[in-house]
Each structure stands twice: as C-alpha cells, then as structure tokens.
C-alpha cells in the first residue's frame, strides 16, 4: 500500500470533563505525553474511565484537548476537524452505514476523496480480499455476522490509506473465540499494510498479543509505557502489576544489593530478588506472578493452603502467608506433590522471578 506511515506525538495533553452528578470539572486525561513510532502498533490499555477512549477521540478530532497539542507526522492537527485529519477509525459498534451494501460502505471514503470509479472498484476489491470478504460486495450489512462486520469496518478504514489507524475497542462486541481469531487477523493486516495503529482496549490479553508497545492508563494518567514483556515482568506499580495478569504482592524492606541481586527482608526472612533501583533500607513490594511462585515441602516461608483446585493445565492454590493471600499456579501438576486444603506447605521463588517495586 502506498500510504505514508505517520508517527503520532501527544505533547502534554489533558482533557477536562464535567462530572454529570457533582457538576465539578475533573481531568479525564491528564498530562499525557506519547511518541508513537511510524508503523508501530500501540495499545492504550486500562480500566473503564481511565481516559483511553478520550485520548483516542482527541487524536481522531472528535474531542479537543484542553491542554497540550497533538502532532501527526510532525504536523500539528489540533485545529483540524475529524474529516480533515489523516486518520481512520474502527468503531466499537462498527458503525457501518446500514443503508449501504458492503461495497458502498468501503467505497464511501474513496468517493469523498473523488477517486476515479474504476480505481475505487479495484481498491475495494483488493481490500476486501485482504480482510477475507471477497465476493460479498453486494451484501447488506445486516446480513453479516459480527466478525464480518468488523472486517468491513476495518476494510473501510484501511482503504483510504490513512496515516494512522485508530481502533476503539473493536472486538468487545464479539464472542470470546472470535475475539482471539480477529486480533490475530488485525495484527496480520496491520503488518501487511505497514500502517501505524493506535488501539484502545480494556482486555489485557488482547493488548499483550498484538502490541509493539502498551500504554497503561489509570485515572487519566499514563501509568506505564513499554513492550508487553517489559510491562509483564517489570511493572512499575502495583496497579500495573495487578492489571496485567495476576500478581502476588509481598511487602518487605530492601536490605542491600549484592552480586547482581537484591536482598529483601520479609518478616525476618531474607530472600534474594531481581536487581532493582530500590534504595537500600527502603520499603519495597515484591511482585510475584502466580506461575513463577513455587509451592513445595520446603522453601522460604510456611503457608496455609486454603484453596486447592485442579484446573486441568495447572493446580490452582490460594495460600495464606500471615494475613497476605497469594495465588499460585502449579503448571503440569500431574507428577508433582499436590497439597490439599488445610495442609501447610512452603513457598519459594527464583530470584530472577521476583521483581521489586
């Protein structure tokens, strides 16, 4: 495709809304700065109300920022109306035009751009092939399944060859299985088209599986930016750790750093953790993923098993370490010692799996 990949820069943007109940102003988005590389796939991830959709709608032009500026391909676009911006959006509800058939839906943007008729025909046919809907041009939108409507919406956005493709929770109306197929499809098509994409979702597994970069938002501010692995293994805050996957938190104090490891004191027991920037003597929290926590007959701490449940792929434990509840996934449990509810077991972990924040 001949489109020019464009990067996006958000320069300290904020958006103020009025709370409908209290009538008070509040920041829906606060001081968000981002630099999105041309051709990359970036996901805005966060719980509902975190400002991710508002941020996306500011990029599209449907909302105007109260502070800061938005740049697309180096050009400031704040004053442009959405129809003048080089972006195309895939909506949560697909927003297909119900009075047009598939061909006319996809051709809509091209007609506005006054593309010659035979070129429109060729482009529409090509793009429908790319999204796997060839031969369905004449169907009306209500004759399509949810997944097919999603593909039409994607084709319609892609065909105008925008500088950036915006996705507003595009898969949330699909069933779980189709969601998984479609996200792979979206990633494939984005790669083939080589287009910059900004994707909004609240589904962390969706974000992990398709993104080059994930931007986690919470309460209108950016909580962390990073690749999926960075965010999963090195969360900067308890919020991020908890939001991406399951996480156990152990509170303690950083004693010292030695031999490329940190030594943390937890209730009088010294454990080795991954090296970190936490200062010696400071309070710290260890983030432990359930699958990298080990339960055995011996270990660092004795724990009480309160739930033990066979899940097929793994044995699920809930254990109590003092007042702290921890979740443990013991994968491939067939040949391992299984603890039952009420038993005492010992918890341990590899130092490289224990991340301090």
């Amino acid at each position: 495709m001949a489109n020019e990949k464009k990067g996006i820069r958000l320069d300290h943007i904020s958006k103020i809304y009025v709370d409908p109940k209290t009538k008070k102003d509040f920041y829906a988005v606060k001081d968000v700065s981002l630099d999105i590389e041309p051709g990359s796939f970036v996901t805005l991830l966060g719980p509902s109300g975190c400002g991710k959709t508002t941020t996306l709608r500011m990029i599209a032009g449907f909302e105007s920022p109260d502070e800061g500026g938005i740049y697309l391909g180096g050009e400031k676009i704040d004053e442009l109306t959405p129809d003048k911006r080089d972006s195309a959006m895939v909506f949560q509800s697909y927003a297909l035009l119900p009075h047009y058939n598939i061909f006319d839906n996809v051709a809509y943007g091209l007609k506005i751009r006054k593309v010659p008729k035979d070129e429109i025909k060729k482009k529409v046919t090509d793009i429908l092939k790319l999204v796997g809907l060839e031969g369905m041009e004449a169907r009306m939108t209500n004759q399509l399944s949810g997944g097919q409507q999603q593909r039409v919406a994607l084709a319609r956005a892609l065909v105008v060859e925008p500088g950036v493709l915006l996705f507003d929770e595009p898969l949330s109306n699909l069933d779980a299985k189709l969601r998984v197929t479609m996200r792979t499809e979206i990633r494939r098509i984005q790669q083939e088209a080589g287009i910059t994409a900004v994707y909004v979702t609240h589904d962390q597994s969706e974000a992990m599986s398709i993104s080059d970069q994930i931007i986690i938002m919470n309460g209108g501010v950016v909580a962390q930016i990073g690749t999926p692995t960075e965010i999963y293994y090195h969360p900067k805050s308890e919020f991020v750790a908890d939001f991406i996957g399951d996480a156990n938190f152990l509170r303690g104090r950083m004693l010292r750093h030695e031999g490329g490891c940190g030594i943390v004191d937890i209730n009088g027991t010294e454990v080795r953790v991954e090296d970190s920037s936490v200062a010696d003597g400071a309070d710290t929290t260890i983030v432990l993923r359930p699958e990298s926590t080990i339960l055995d007959a011996e270990g660092f701490f004795p724990v009480d098993v309160v739930v033990s449940c066979f899940m097929g792929a793994y044995q699920l434990y809930h254990v109590m370490l003092g007042d702290t509840k921890l979740i443990i996934h013991e994968y491939n449990p067939k040949n391992k010692r299984i603890f039952q509810q009420g038993e005492t077991a010992y918890l341990s972990f590899e130092s490289e799996n224990a991340h301090c924040i």
Partner: protein
C-alpha cells in the same frame, strides 16, 4: 481548571465548516424572527403606549367582562376536557395493551379511532355534532322529536374536544404502558394482589406522571383550540375566540395583544411543567423496554365490560365522522333526508371550492417540504452537533409548540403589518402568501422537530462519526447518512406538515387576505351561516384528500422505507 483551549479549538473546528455555520446562523435568524419576535412584539405592544411603559392596556383588558369570562371559560373547559380525554385515553390504552382483543375488527376499529383525528380538520366533529344533536339534529329532532335542543355551549364543546383529543392521550399512554416491565405486575400478582390491586398499586403509580403529561398536553390543545369553540361554543367564548373577536369585531389590536399574552402564559406554564417536570419523571419511572411479552388478561369479567365500553366509544366517534359525509349527501338537513350530490356541486362550483382546494393545497405543498427539511436539520444540529446556540435553536423550535395559533396570528399582525418593530422593514410580507406559508411552517415545525429528534437519538452516534472520520463534511454527512437513516421520520414529517397546514385555521384566519381562499376558512364561514350541507361537503373532500396523502405515505414507507435495513 481551564477549558479555554478546547473551547477555542471547538470554535475553530466549527467555523471550518462554512455550510454548517451558515445553516446555524440562518436558522437562528429565522427562529428569532418568526417565533420569538412575534411573541416579543405582543409583550411590547401590551406594555408600551406611545413610547411609554404602561400597565394601562393590561389593566383595561383585565377589567373587561368579556375577558374575565373567557379566561375562566378557557380554564374550565381545559380542565374538563383534559380529565375526560386522559381517562378515556387510559381506558383505550389499557385495553390495547392488557386485554387480548377477540377480533381483528376491534383492532382495526381502535387503529381507525387513533388515526381519525390526525387526518381530519379540527372542527369536523363540531359539524357532525351540530348535525346530529343540534336544533335540526338527526337524532334530537328526527329520531327523538326534541324541538329546542341546544348543543351550543360548554357541554357540546367539551364532548367534541374530548373526542378530538383523547386519541392523542391514547397513543401517549399506550407507549407508556408498553414500556412497563410485565414482571413488575407479575411479582405483585405473585405476592397475592388482585388485578384491581395490581392496577392501583403498581400500574397506576408508574404511569401517574404520564397521566399528568397527557392531561397537560390536552389542556394546552384545548386552550389553543380555535375552530371548535368558534363553531359549537355558542356564547361560551374562550380566550382563543375572544382574541379573534377583539381584532375582527372590536378592532382592538392592543387589547388582543394583551389577551394573547395571557393565553400564551397559560399554555407556556403548562408546557414547561409538562416538558421539564413530568417528562423527566415519566422517563425516570419507566426506563427501557419490557423484558418480555405480557400475558394478556383473559378473564371475561374484566375483558368484556372494558371491550364493550371502548367499542361503544369507538363506534360513536366513527359515526360522528361518517355523519360528515351524510351531512353533505342529505338534501336539506333536518327536513329532507333524501340523498343528492347537490351540496358537492355547490361546494365545487358556487362557493369557489375548486379554487379554495387549489390554494390550500398549493400553499401547504410549498410549506411542507420546507418544514420537513428544516425540522430534520434542526433535529440533526440539536442531537449530533455541539455549538453555542444549540440550546436556543432547540428551545425556540420546541417553544413554538406551546404557542396557540391565535397568539401567533396576532403576533404576526402586530409584528409585520407595520414592519419589524413598526419600522416598515419586512412590511412587504404582510398580507402575502409568504406569511401564510411561514405561519404553516412555524405551526408544524415543533412536531417535525420532535419526531426528528427522537428518530436521531435512536441512531448510534458513531455511525455519523465514522462518516466524518472518513472525510465527509457536515452537509455531506447529513445528506448521505443522517437523512437516509431517518427517511421514515422525514416522510412522516412531510406529510404531517402538509396535513396540519391544509387543515389549519387558527393562525390563518387572522392572516389570510381575500386574494387567497382557504378551505378551512370557507368551512368556518359556511358553518357560521348555517350552511351545514356545504360545510360538510368541503370537510368530506378535505378528509379524503388528507387520508389519501397519509395512505400514500404509508405505502411509500412500506416499500422504500428505512425500516427494512434498520430492523435487527
């Protein structure tokens, strides 16, 4: 926190769309000029005498015996008709929603009753009431032999208005009842409540605000009604007729302006209570759709009396309408009941009927597309756009609903006969067909806008956003996306505007000049002279025309409407 930047950006974006900007400015100018200004001039006129602020005009009017009587008459009539219409409307709605009707004929009958007032000119029932129960009435004189029956006055008026307005209540309440989740009532039944207890403790409280709503809507209609009090009111003058007589009889335009302000205040207060208090209350108690179909009531002891009562009322209403046709066919009403087409011949060839139908149809046909497009544009701007002045546009176009035709008529006379603020500017439009067309448009605009707004609210905002996002400007979005999606509402707005215009009388009667003949005014003057045969002839043809237009629209919507692809 400072929202200056987004406000500035939104402004920049708004002004980047010249079509939108021009449309908004023209609309606001038009609404100010033809809705607000005529009302303002009435206020100015009734408080300003020779450049001085004075309460003298009001004082004079308030002491007029004629005014005092008319004032209380209007309120009393509104109360009676409001209560009766709401109750009968509730009865019909309840039977429609809760009782399984045994036959298709009954369903058809109910639909017909609901449709008739929409397609009929406002005074048709008065005509047939006089024909049936008047001094020479078919029932009173011919069947019962009563010689001195007097149908003129509050009694006749209230019956006629109730029959004219209850179908509106029926439609409103039917919608509400359908929205009640049946499981609420089933839960009450399950806990041991009888049908009657369920009705009084669950259904009735839920629709109470809706009943108030229906009452007020009817009250406003009654207060604004001009034709019926004119024909059947006799000595029972209401404000609407008194204002008219004050202008045409007493030549007291300032007094009429002051009276118009009083009438306007009544309707606007009612309207504000209805719109901003009751409507939100209704919405609060009845949210969303019923979860599943309701089990209809089948016990004979409940269904039989209700159905019979409704059927009787329906038959009575329909007989009244049919009477209009016979009124036109009987040779001499009251004396010679042989059938003849003589009245129709006289209507068409002696009373300038052909010309009246032509004039009325032409002016209505010009006004209705203007109304339909304007109301859809207003609805689009109000629902889908954010800009300063949006609230003003919505307020003014909906406010017009609360303005009685007579008030608007007087406003136009005072406002335009001497030009804007008596300065001579725009004086030219007074006494022309243009001002009639404008009056038609303003009178039908609120209904069209309301239906457009509710149609647009059904459409997912992101459908239009997706078109904008792909590069379409406001006007392109309106014509390629919005309008096709609300085609049905547009068409019905078009037809409603036509019907309302061709059957309109209250504002028109004050504004029309001898150059244009209007059907409704012909009917009114014939009826006043006692030529009921001809009046009925006119009315019959008018009903046929209107019914044909409505039927055509329904046919069109059925085959080319949006509902086909909007269903899902």
């Amino acid at each position: 926190m400072n929202k200056n930047q987004s406000a500035r950006l939104d402004r920049t974006k708004f002004f980047a769309d010249p079509v939108l900007v021009v449309t908004v400015f023209l609309l606001i100018a038009m609404l100010l000029l033809f809705v607000l200004y005529p009302l303002v001039i009435l206020l100015v006129d009734s408080f300003l005498e020779e450049g001085h602020l004075t309460g003298a005009i009001f004082e004079r009017v308030l002491h007029l015996q004629r005014f005092k009587v008319a004032f209380w008459n209007t309120l009393l009539d509104g109360m009676i008709v409001g209560v009766l219409s709401t109750l009968i409307g509730l009865l019909f709605a309840y039977v429609d929603v809760y009782v399984r009707l045994r036959s298709r004929i009954l369903e058809k009958l109910f639909n017909l009753v609901a449709l008739l007032p929409v397609v009929s000119p406002p005074f048709v029932l008065s005509l047939s009431m006089i024909c049936l129960f008047g001094r020479a009435g078919f029932i009173t004189k011919y069947l019962l032999g009563i010689r001195n029956s007097n149908i003129y006055g509050l009694g006749g008026l209230a019956v006629v208005q109730t029959m004219t307005f209850f179908p509106v209540c029926y439609m409103m309440l039917r919608g509400l009842l359908r929205n009640i989740d049946p499981s609420l009532e089933e839960a009450a039944r399950d806990m041991g409540a009888s049908r009657w207890k369920v009705f009084t403790s669950v259904t009735f409280p839920l629709i109470l605000p809706g009943l108030g709503n229906a009452f007020l809507v009817t009250f406003i209609e009654c207060a604004a009604d001009f034709a019926n009090p004119m024909l059947i009111g006799g000595n029972y003058d209401t404000l609407a007729t008194t204002i008219y007589l004050q202008i045409t009889g007493a030549y007291d335009k300032q007094g009429a302006a002051a009276m118009a302000i009083v009438l306007l205040s009544i309707t606007i207060v009612m309207f504000i209570i209805q719109k901003y208090y009751l409507e939100s209350k209704t919405a609060a108690t009845l949210t969303g759709k019923a979860s599943r179909a309701r089990m209809p009531i089948t016990e004979k002891r409940v269904t039989a009396p209700l159905t019979v009562l409704c059927s009787l009322i329906s038959v009575f209403v329909i007989v009244m309408y049919v009477m209009v046709l016979f009124g036109a066919l009987f040779k001499v009403w009251g004396r010679n009941y042989s059938l003849s087409l003589e009245h129709f011949r006289r209507v068409l060839f002696m009373h300038g009927g052909l010309r009246a139908f032509k004039d009325s149809a032409i002016l209505s046909a010009i006004a209705s597309p203007i109304t339909a497009v304007l109301s859809m544009i207003i609805a689009y701007l109000v629902v889908k756009k954010r800009f300063k002045g949006r609230g003003l546009i919505e307020l003014l176009s909906i406010l017009a609903m609360a303005v009685p035709g007579t008030v608007l008529g007087v406003g136009y006379i005072r406002g335009f006969s001497g030009g804007i603020f008596h300065s001579g500017i725009l004086k030219g439009i007074y006494g022309t067909s243009l001002i009639l067309i404008i009056a038609f448009v303003v009178r039908s605009l609120p209904t069209g806008t309301r239906s457009g707004i509710s149609a647009l609210r059904q459409i997912d905002k992101s459908i239009e956003e997706s078109a904008i996002d792909l590069g379409a400007g406001s006007s392109r979005v309106f014509f390629t996306v919005t309008l096709p999606l609300i085609k049905d509402s547009f068409l019905s707005g078009l037809v409603t505007a036509f019907v309302r215009s061709i059957t309109a009388i209250s504002a028109v009667i004050l504004l029309v000049t001898p150059r244009w003949k209007m059907v409704t005014i012909q009917i009114n003057s014939l009826a006043e002279k006692g030529d009921y045969g001809e009046a009925c002839g006119f009315a019959t043809i008018l009903i046929i025309i209107v019914y044909a237009v409505v039927a055509l629209m329904n046919l069109f919507i059925k085959h080319f409407g949006t509902s086909k692809y909007m269903e899902e």
